[in-house]
């Protein structure tokens, strides 16, 4: 973690139970401004639930502090100016123009009758450039491809201009170039002092573009640290049940899954 930057998000003993099932147990997690943190873990490990808890959308035990404020003390309105959440389920219900979709990201900053958002136009323009959707501005979002819609929704969350951005599998379904350019966009907004938590399934993408990775396994944190030190063959076999070939180049580790672990076969 970057010691010079203030803590944006921290949890202590965070647990979430959905129905009879404990989904998260004893999560102690912290993230500073300026960081891009990758959230890894197999399906059902609790990645989306952790993101929802940080976004204030599920009941939890333990404590969550966002920008120094207790999650329970934040109103929905106040939270929307601190935390942006890009959910995994991508929905655009009406054939809204792309620029309208991105503009809705400014909703928390708008006063009565849409007034009082002086930064709105600039924030939207920047967000659309970062997500590479500027050329789509006038198109109806529902007529775009799945990957393009994903980028439009990412631009919507970036335009919200909150200190904390939680993105749940934002690159799923994107072509390799746009996966990398969206990760680059997250790095850029982090460099401007925002904290970005992004859940991913692509291990190499996480290793190369995240400052730090947190690996969840069965609702607990299995590892937390710099990608090169965390993503070991041993951990990947234990958590993901896969055998991985590990290479290194000057940019960091390259992980190639090559088979299932012995006890899976």
């Amino acid at each position: 973690m970057n010691a010079e930057q203030p803590i944006a998000v921290s949890t202590a003993g965070l647990s979430v139970t959905l129905g009879p099932r404990p989904v998260l147990a004893g999560i102690d997690f912290a993230m500073a401004r300026g960081e891009v943190v990758g959230l890894l873990g197999p399906n059902g490990a609790g990645k989306s639930t952790l993101i929802r808890a940080l976004a204030g959308q599920v009941a939890f035990d333990g404590s969550i502090a966002i920008e120094g404020r207790d999650q329970h003390d934040l109103t929905a309105d106040a939270r929307s100016r601190i935390v942006a959440h890009l959910p995994q389920g991508r929905m655009i219900a009406w054939p809204l123009a792309v620029e309208t979709v991105v503009g809705l990201g400014r909703l928390p900053w708008r006063g009565f009758a849409g007034r009082g958002d002086a930064d709105g136009a600039r924030a939207c323009r920047e967000a659309m450039e970062l997500a590479d959707v500027t050329h789509l501005a006038g198109r109806p979002a529902t007529a775009l491809s799945g990957g393009e819609q994903a980028r439009v929704l990412a631009a919507r969350a970036i335009a919200q201009a909150t200190p904390v951005l939680l993105a749940d599998e934002p690159v799923a379904g994107l072509d390799p170039a746009h996966q990398m350019s969206l990760m680059l966009a997250f790095r850029r907004i982090a460099a401007r002092g925002r904290a970005v938590l992004v859940s991913l399934h692509d291990l190499t993408l996480a290793a190369r573009w995240c400052d730090r990775v947190v690996v969840l396994h069965d609702g607990r944190i299995a590892a937390d640290g710099a990608p090169a030190s965390v993503l070991t063959a041993d951990l990947l076999e234990r958590v993901f049940d896969i055998l991985v070939r590990l290479d290194h180049d000057e940019c960091g580790p390259i992980l190639t899954p090559i088979g299932l672990s012995a006890d899976r076969e």
Binding site: R52, R156, A157
Partner: protein
Amino acid sequence: MISRLNIILAASVLILAALSLLVGPAALGPGESLSAIFSSDGGTAALIMREIRLPRALLGVLIGASLGLSGAALQGFLRNPLAEPGIIGVSSSASLGAVLVFYSGLAGASLLALPAGALVGALAAMLALIGFSRGNTATLTLILAGVALSSLAGALTSLALNLSPNPFASYEIIFWLLGSLKDRSMEHVWIALPLMLAGWIMIAVSARALDALSFGEEAAASLGVDVGRARLLVVGGVALSVGAATAVAGAIGFVGLVVPHLVRPFTDRMPGGLLLPSALGGAALLTAADIAARLIRPAGELNVGVVTALIGAPFFLWLVAHSRREVQS
């Protein structure tokens, strides 16, 4: 906020309402009709205008606006272009309330018994819906509970028809269920107006939430929208305004479904921005349909609910075919 679309629609509402004042079996010239509304001589013309045509024109505008607004609000809230006020069971429950008043013979006791029965039905449906739709899966529950309530109210209405004491009572019930603005008085306007206004305000307050809900409930919540509160406002607003509409005019279908689709292409398609044009469009459409109902068959006029269904159902089919083509291309 005041777009050109809204100005055009508002002007159409005014023109159609004025035309509505001019249509009727009594042979009154246009000038004579309009001046009679404001005259103080208490003559036949004034009586016809104030007691018969004015309440009819006002109710056409108010009910049409309520139906259009409710349809737009429900389509936005449920993110479903097929949603309409009937889907959450409020209009069928209001109908059931009115039918029970017919059935019990209370309808003859007072002019207000029928609307009161319908309002009780609508409020009961609203409370049931709010009771059912709590927690995480509330929106899905809302639709399912609405469909169930709607079928239950329909079944009980049929039961009342089956058990009805004499054929004349059944005839009266069926006729009322078709929806009409005929022979309504200013009392009906005063019953409906406050409830409709309250419902309109509740829906208007939820406009911002409807915009955010375009991205689903999770994303809307992260934009600062209290989805539970929006649900209460929309369900309550629709129940009050459509309940009041059904109470004074019976069940008038298709206006709430069709109008948002008619005006949507002329807007930026934001659900919140669609509310005002849908209200104005609904007022214009129902007033026009009510004029048509009187002109097509002047002797024994058509029920306006029949006219709206005759316009609405083919349009709906066209819509289904059209949207399928859009998906395919």
